[in-house]
Amino acid sequence: MSSIPKMDNLEDAKKELKELKIKVEKADDVKARMILEKLDEDELKENAKQEMMAKAEKQESCQKEFNQDLEKVKDEIQKLSKHRQDILDKLRRCKAQLEAKRTEASKLKHKFKIYAQIPETEVQFLSLIREENGEGEDISHSVRGVFTISQRAAVLLLGGQALITFEEEKVAQKILKLPGCRVSCEDTTLNVKPKGLTLGTSVKFEVHVDVSRKELKLYNIPPAMPEDRMEDRLEISFSRPTRGGGEVESVDYDGKTGTGSITFLKPGVAWRLARKGVYKVNLESEVNVKVGPAYEYKLEKFQTSCGSSRRTVLLEGIDDVEDEEDLQDHLEIHFQKPNNSGGEIENIKYISKGKSLQAFFSEDKIDITN
């Protein structure tokens, strides 16, 4: 049994050996493959590592770039906000400029709008008007005022200055050509400078105002009833002599504006009532109605001119070496003499230092024929 098993064993062993050999071979193969694989892996690992390093580097540079970009952008923001500030500043400057120009413009506009504040002027009855060249119109129906309004030509005379009006224009013109004049006084001589005068622009116009003697204007009439009934009530109220009224010729009433007018038969009533300003009217109840004169106006003979002063000369730089009166006399004596280039004097005014005066000019009526 033993040999057979031995045989068997051998056989088996052989077989086994063979198998083992194969196994070994296989294992070797595997081992070799694995070694290769390992090498491969090593390489891959190395590659990966390098790749990673490169990436990290790149990352870093990117970071740098970003930082740079960020700086740049920040810079740009700063620049932009500065630019914006500049623009805002410019806008502000422009606005200020605009404002200045606007005030200048309105000032200039003012020059072309005449705003004549008229001083209280005393009037009185002067005379009878004999002939009113038959215009055919009823001249008794209104008080017609013609008001000639003119801008006063005036120069503010300052201390140490004098104004001289010569009788002849050519004398004044000759004096104006002198650079200076030496005027002798009691015990000294004065140096005075002659100067020409400009008076600027002036306007002159007439305002014609026609005040009706029969018509009275009514204002602020409360709308108490229909228009026709209202007219009746107004007529009744204004016909009462005890209230200063009189016989009414016609009534006009506008319910929308609350205004109206009464025309009286006789002249004079309307003006007397207008002076009072209010009138009691019986509507549903007694109310005060505002009354006023009825008048029309128009502008006539509107003239503008620029003033010159060919016979009047301004003297400057006069030292007050003596009192006002004496000095004025000395000036007058000096400028009267033909050998001082002077001539007959029509008017002279001198004021000493520290004082000032308005000197009024009037239109020169003397016709200067060339």
């Binding site: 932009l80 008229i118 005022g145």
Partner: protein, 313 residues
């Protein structure tokens, strides 16, 4: 080691997106600013343009105002306080239709007028048994207190000043002939009028813009009967009242007498009344002007400045 790698990997990504976001915003900003700048520029241009136009217009008007007919003024010795800045003065000339059966008296003294008004009713002896009672009343008149006028330059008319001394009729013809010729820059003349007030002539043209050109040239040499004379042409300025305010003033020295009956002839009544109010015993005083208008009559009275200028006719 692993943490660091992810850090490096994640945070840049975040930052990147943040930066991208910022860049987007910035781009918007930039665009906005550019638009704003553009707008500012446009507005500035517009405003400057407007200002320039205004300036030109005003300069034109200024030159126009300096180109006005000259008026010669003289100092007449009249002076006032330095604070006296009243710019305008007024000369009133009022045509006053008298009521029937009334008289007007102007006293030399204001006090006399005041006393007469205070007493109101006055008995006037007409001689014999006859006496009448008249009532004294103040006279109030409406006068302008403020006048606002807008001015503008007439496109049709010119004002000609610095004229030679000659017959007005002849002067007007010569001017019209000269200014109707195109070689003198003129055109068809619509009207040619002499203003005696200022000694100037107004010429109106049919066409517009002739006036303007003539005024720009200002000085024109014109043939007047073989004598050459240089006249001055200036723009004609129109005025229009835009506002008028009035005040009612009482005449301080004038008294109105009412209720005078028609009992004797005009002359006698006028004398009787004047004599009565002249007498100191009747509270009267020196009379400067007196006028009686009887019943049934129409009389016009003239009211004017208390101090009439000597040169006034």
């Amino acid at each position: 080691m692993y943490q660091k790698v992810t850090d490096v990997a994640v945070s840049p990504q975040k930052r990147y997106s943040v930066i991208l976001e910022e860049q987007k915003d910035l781009q918007l900003f930039i665009k906005e600013r550019q638009e704003m700048t553009q707008k500012f520029k446009q507005r500035t241009e517009k405003v400057t343009e407007g200002l320039r136009k205004d300036q030109i217009a005003f300069e034109e008007q200024i030159t126009v105002f300096s180109k006005m007919p000259e008026k010669n003024f003289v100092f007449t010795g009249k002076t006032g306080k330095a604070e006296d800045v009243e710019e305008f003065e007024m000369k009133p000339h009022i045509r006053y239709p008298m009521e029937e059966g009334t008289a007007l008296i102007t006293f030399e003294e204001e006090d006399v007028a005041t006393n007469i008004l205070e007493k109101k009713r006055h008995k006037v002896d007409l001689g014999g048994e006859c006496r009448i009672i008249v009532e004294a009343q103040p006279v109030h008149l409406l006068m302008p207190s403020l006048v606002e006028i807008d001015t503008d330059i007439c496109p049709h008319r010119i004002l000609v000043s610095n004229l030679p001394n000659m017959d007005t009729e002849m002067l007007l013809s010569k001017l019209e002939i000269h200014f109707s010729k195109s070689k003198h820059g003129g055109g068809e003349v619509e009207s040619c009028d002499f203003l005696p007030d200022s000694g100037t002539v107004v010429i109106a043209f049919v066409m517009e813009n002739i006036a303007e050109h003539l005024a720009v040239q200002e000085h024109h040499k014109i043939d007047f009967n073989k004598n050459k004379h240089t006249v001055r042409v200036t723009p004609f300025v129109n005025g229009k009242i835009t506002n008028l305010k009035t005040r009612t003033s009482m005449c301080p020295r004038t008294v109105l007498l009412t209720g005078i009956p028609d009992v004797m002839d005009w002359e006698t009544m006028q004398d009787m009344l004047e004599i009565h109010f002249q007498k100191n015993g009747n509270d009267g005083g020196e009379i400067e002007a007196f006028l009686y208008n009887p019943l049934g009559q129409q009389t016009l009275a003239l009211f004017g400045s208390a101090t009439p200028e000597p040169e006034e006719e």
